[in-house]
């Protein structure tokens, strides 16, 4: 009986939400922007912070009257598809987006999904903004993918260089999960470190994603006594445990990663041991965050109960899509116009103090402008929150 009423309640709730979503948009024509990523199962955290930042921003825009492109004011509607981190589903999701007449999609979150959706996106005229780093996605002949964040092979060298110059780091060790994305990122990081003249003392230790005890994994790495320990492509779930194990093993050096992390998760999982942990973030540290960023964080928190610092880096893709469309209204259903505009597009970055610009970059990494210029904000964790260590630009 209990179970039945629970299910009933759940069904009712679900139906209400479904209707709620469709009936909320009445006045303005809707501009649909897609999201294809993982929002359930083990890797749910990656996609959810993504989806939520888009939804929070869309709700904000709609509340303030919509978004005007080429004289028409649109309500922004986010259409999300959960690909369960399965590349086969990701393709289905992209097909779904094509079906909905959507030309701009954020996601997928992982390498294999991003590679798998490419044929669909290109044949249906969809620009997509994956959070995956393989260069082949963005180099010609690939044309429709735009890297939605700073790649590790871009942030890595910047961080290593900073640490070499400011902290006297000479040796570095890498550790990665035994999965496609982290391993690729580790290889990229190792190459970058060697190029900078760092001595790589350990680069072949990996761990299973489901590891519950990192002490045995880290012990041999610690024995190589590096100045810097890089957690390549570490997931927010594993980061605090790795930090904690490394510190408990007596590691005194610096720990860093090139992926975005959440301060709350670090505080809970590693506490004071996470002090000094370096990661790449968006622009929500107090020094950099513009009033608009602060309002975004407030609205996000209000909407979903808690904020996730990973969203700092994930707020940009939607902003880029909308700003570029505003600059080139014909691109609304013509991605060729969008691509053409990408070369010259420039707009102020509303989330950051100072005169940072939104523009497309990537010439040096990909040979074409297929990356959003997100400020490369390198953060350091201190007492429950991130502080900005330094800011750099990607070209």
């Amino acid at each position: 009986m209990q179970r039945r009423s629970l299910i009933q309640a759940a069904l009712t709730a679900a139906t209400l939400t479904a209707f709620g979503v469709t009936s909320a948009l009445a006045e303005n024509p809707a501009l649909k922007i897609g999201f294809v990523g993982v929002t359930s199962g083990p890797a749910a955290a990656w996609g959810i912070s993504n989806q939520r930042s888009m939804e929070a921003r869309a709700a904000w825009l709609n509340e303030t009257g919509g978004y005007t492109i080429g004289g028409t004011t649109y309500d922004i509607e986010i259409v999300s598809f959960d690909d369960q981190k399965d590349p086969k589903r990701a393709i289905a999701g992209m097909e779904k987006m094509a079906q909905e007449g959507i030309h701009y999609v954020v996601g997928p979150n992982v390498d294999d999904g991003a590679a798998a959706v490419r044929p669909v996106a290109e044949s249906n005229g969809i620009m997509y903004f994956p959070y995956a780093f393989p260069k082949s996605l963005y180099q010609a002949p690939a044309s429709n993918a735009v890297l939605g964040m700073v790649a590790n092979y871009q942030s890595g060298p910047a961080i290593y260089k900073y640490l070499m110059e400011n902290k006297g780091v000479k040796t570095v060790a890498f550790i990665a999960a035994n999965e496609s994305d982290p391993l690729s990122q580790r290889d990229g990081g190792v190459a970058a470190a060697k190029e900078l003249g760092l001595e790589v003392v350990s680069d072949n230790v990996t761990y299973q994603v489901d590891t519950t005890d990192f002490t045995p994994v880290l012990t041999p790495v610690m024995r190589s006594r590096p100045d810097l320990l890089v957690l390549s492509g570490v997931s927010p779930a594993n980061a605090p445990q790795l930090i904690r194990s490394a510190r408990e093993l007596g590691f005194q050096g610096i720990i860093s990663t090139e992926t975005a992390q959440d301060a709350g998760v670090l505080a809970e999982g590693a506490g004071d041991l996470a002090k000094g942990f370096i990661s790449v973030g968006g622009a929500s540290t107090p020094e950099l965050a513009s009033p608009m960023m602060n309002e975004f964080v407030d609205r996000y928190t209000e909407m979903f109960g808690e904020y996730n610092d990973e969203s700092n880096t994930k707020v940009y893709a939607l902003e880029y899509i909308l700003e570029t469309l505003k600059a080139e209204p014909s691109a609304i259903d013509d991605v060729e116009a969008f691509k053409a505009k990408m070369d010259t597009f420039e707009a102020p970055n509303p989330y950051m103090n100072g005169d940072a610009k939104l523009r497309y970059v990537g010439m040096s990494s990909f040979g074409q402008k297929r990356q959003v210029a997100v400020p490369l904000v390198v953060n350091v964790y201190q007492d429950g929150a991130f502080e900005t260590l330094f800011v750099a630009e990607v070209d």
């Binding site: 359930s40 890797a43 489901d210 002490t215 998760v265």
Partner: protein
């Protein structure tokens, strides 16, 4: 060497506890509980909520994890497994049911506890460091001791109480147990609740060290399956042995094979396959389960 030994004991004790619950459920009902890992995660989240969020004393929070999971397990057995097992279905259909429950619990965890990694403050600070040859944080030692105590308590329960005897009789031969006057329905439910409770208890214990997140469920289940295979499905002593064996294999493999990082698990899996091909009933099991 000392470090490998210590890591092995620590990993082994927690694996053994996970395997115990799974093997108990398997022995009693011939159900391979795909949702075991999810139960473990719920246990972790309950302790997290009580201890980490609301500041309830740790031990009390652990008890809450046990109680929650025992109730959940009992309900699942009573309203889902029992009718399906009794029905005319093929034996295998319980596997589909278990998988469905795993999906369901995953969805519930996501909705109730969210997608983020959660952790609680350390219960004890400090690290035991013996000349850098043996490094073990105190909280790990404590959890390891608690896990071993729980295993001992569980064995005691199975050996010396009426419930334990009834459960063992049930595991050995359902029909015979029924003839001996064991209330099969009741003890199946108790057994399932106990198995689920063990999962919750490990989850609660480990949340202090590894934290907890949605993604741990499936992976934990698979690991638990492997262990149960090594020891022999449905054998209590086997479950303890295999936990320890897997713990040591992992500790030794990671210590010796680290320069080939990717292959420790590959080797563990492959040797498991070879082992099972040679000795299909596992270490302690009866042939063909």
């Amino acid at each position: 060497m000392e470090q490998i030994l210590a890591n092995g004991v620590y990993l082994g004790s927690q694996y053994a506890m996970i395997a115990l619950g799974l093997t108990l459920i398997f022995a009693l009902m011939n159900v391979l509980n795909f949702a075991h890992g999810q139960m473990y995660v719920i246990g972790g989240f309950v302790t997290y909520t009580f201890y980490g969020q609301w500041g309830v004393p740790f031990v009390l929070a652990l008890v809450m994890s046990c109680v929650t999971l025992a109730i959940l397990g009992a309900l699942i057995e009573r309203y889902l497994f029992a009718p399906v097992i009794k029905g005319p279905a093929r034996e295998e259909s319980t596997m589909l049911l278990a998988a469905g429950i795993a999906f369901f619990l995953d969805a519930v965890i996501l909705l109730v506890f969210g997608e983020k990694q959660s952790g609680v403050p350390k219960i004890v600070d400090g690290v035991f460091n013996y000349d850098f040859r043996l490094i073990m944080p105190y909280d790990r030692i404590l959890i390891c001791v608690l896990a071993i105590l729980s295993i001992v308590a569980f064995i005691g329960l199975m050996q010396y109480t009426k419930t334990g005897r009834a459960l063992r009789a049930l595991a050995q031969d359902r029909t015979a147990a029924q003839l001996m006057g064991v209330n099969v329905d009741r003890y199946s439910m108790i057994g399932f609740a106990l198995g689920a409770m063990l999962a919750g208890l490990v989850g609660g214990l480990l949340v202090t060290i590894t934290g907890v997140n949605l993604g741990m469920g499936g992976a934990t289940s698979i690991k638990a399956f492997m262990m149960v295979m090594i020891g022999g499905a449905g054998v209590i002593s086997g479950a303890i042995w295999d936990g320890i064996i897997l713990g040591f294999m992992e500790a030794i493999g990671l210590a010796l094979l680290y320069q080939y990082g990717d292959i420790t698990y590959l080797l563990i899996f492959v040797s498991l396959m070879i082992f099972l091909a040679i000795r299909p009933q596992g270490l302690m099991g009866k042939p063909w389960g």
